[in-house]
Amino acid sequence: MPPFLLEVKNLKKGFPIRKGFFSRIRGTVQALNNVSLNIQRGETLGLVGESGCGKTTLARALLKLIRPDSGEILFQKTDLVPLSSRQMRPFRRHLQMVFQDPYSSLNPRMRVGEIIAEPLLIHRQINRSEKREKVAELLEAVGLSPNFYDQYPHEFSGGQRQRIGIARALAPLPELIIADEPVSALDVSIGTQIIHLLQELQKKRHLSYLFISHDLKLVRMISHRVAVMYLGEIVESGPAEALSHPLHPYTQALVSAIPIPDPALKRKRILLAGEVPSPTELPSGCSFHPRCPYAEERCKTQKPVVKEWQPGRWASCHFVDKIGGLHE
């Protein structure tokens, strides 16, 4: 197997909770709790989970926009965690991000051309005279007219702005693009076009993606492999097709919660009890036990380890072999 482009090992990040500005720390939000994952060159890893489970925190930690508490982020075998922001600089251009909100993620006072050229100038990949030509090329690559160079973000629709965001991410020729809910703010028809653009760019440029979304259907469609996150942990990962017979009870519930557009189909839903607990008070044992329909005594005290149950299929649950998914 070729070496991984990105390999994340046991990443942890907690946010201290304070009441008031000067007061003592009251506890921690454990946003990332031992996250491990890897991405190969040219591959899309989908990361799916409900709001607050830690997806954006992971994205920000991978780009070193926030400092992880512990763990490793191996990018082409170099650990980024201990690097200073100066030492990070040569790696920055290889790791780019596309954000959820196409309205707030572009500087409203900058012209489109400047927005796209900015990373190129920072990384000294072009000089001023090459700017226009390079930007025109990028605008075309994302399906926009080169004439947009002098316009401002507010003159564009949500879908067009997201294309501008993608052009900016593509500019420094990155290896990996982290897309955090890139189509959640868009209508389905516009979102679909953006997805097609991302797929086409991946083929042409051999890009790797970490594609983050709360939408399991979408993640399954775009990803080669999928990782499922719950309360700051990856509870299951495996090939995208495997989501049709999940190993972990949480993934099963997620899959079964999706409304199916087929009125003739009658099925029994797995309805989870209650809601996601607060990450300030992580449940003992298996974090999922208060909501898990299969939980037994052991789950309250003993934390399941992540195991590879079938080649490439990992899950952390004591009872994977009982629950099914393996034999379907």
Partner: protein, 268 residues
Amino acid sequence: MEPLLKVENLKTYFLTSRETIKAVDDVSFTLNRGETLGIVGESGSGKSVTALSLLRLVSPPGKIVGGRILFQGEDIMTLPEETVRQLRGRRMAMVFQEPMTALNPVFTVANQICEGVKLHQQLSGTARVIHPRDEKVIELLKLVGIPDPERVSKSYPHEISGGMRQRVMIAMALAGNPDLLIADEPTTALDVTIQAQVLELLKELQKKLKMALLLITHDFGVIAETVERVIVMQQGKIVEEATTLELFRKPEHPYTKKLLEMIPRWAG
């Protein structure tokens, strides 16, 4: 039998100095007692404005410029404001898309529900002051599946989760035993596992209380699993109306076909 709701040639426009937006443009449909009807369409197609028009809640520059809305035989358009206010919440109630904006941040959950209950009881002649700890509030919170109703009843909206807020909204809507519940994207802001809980709850309550349900959504999955009949809206107009089974089996209008074709890609 007379339909519960009969909308005839409804037109709701936004009249700004620059332009006239025909948000709802000649819309007609009926809804029978105890029936479930869905309105589906893309963003901006006029779904929410249709719902607001039924309750006469459109605010300027929006205006109902034409048509009739017959609810239990009465034309809502010609009723005095006071009568419409009494109708809202009692005989027709609404659950909105964003539960946070629809709840009053300075009142506890119990107080918000009480306001509703009190009003309805006054109207039905049984004037009795309701205490926020009254069992009616707790009963309603239990009905919508809130686990710790005593605690939640004393909480303020920002202290409970989005899923809970949506349940509270539904409890408020149900307080007056409405004949018609209008739910505008009631689960769009929620996580998928919570969305499933709230949709199951709506379906269960609709059957149990024999209410008519008008459900607005852009999600064909939600339509397929919740309603018997569907209206498809595009740019303020109804382009197709059919039973849910028919609509999925053989959509007639090119726009419906286009919308349906987009689904499988996302469903993978």
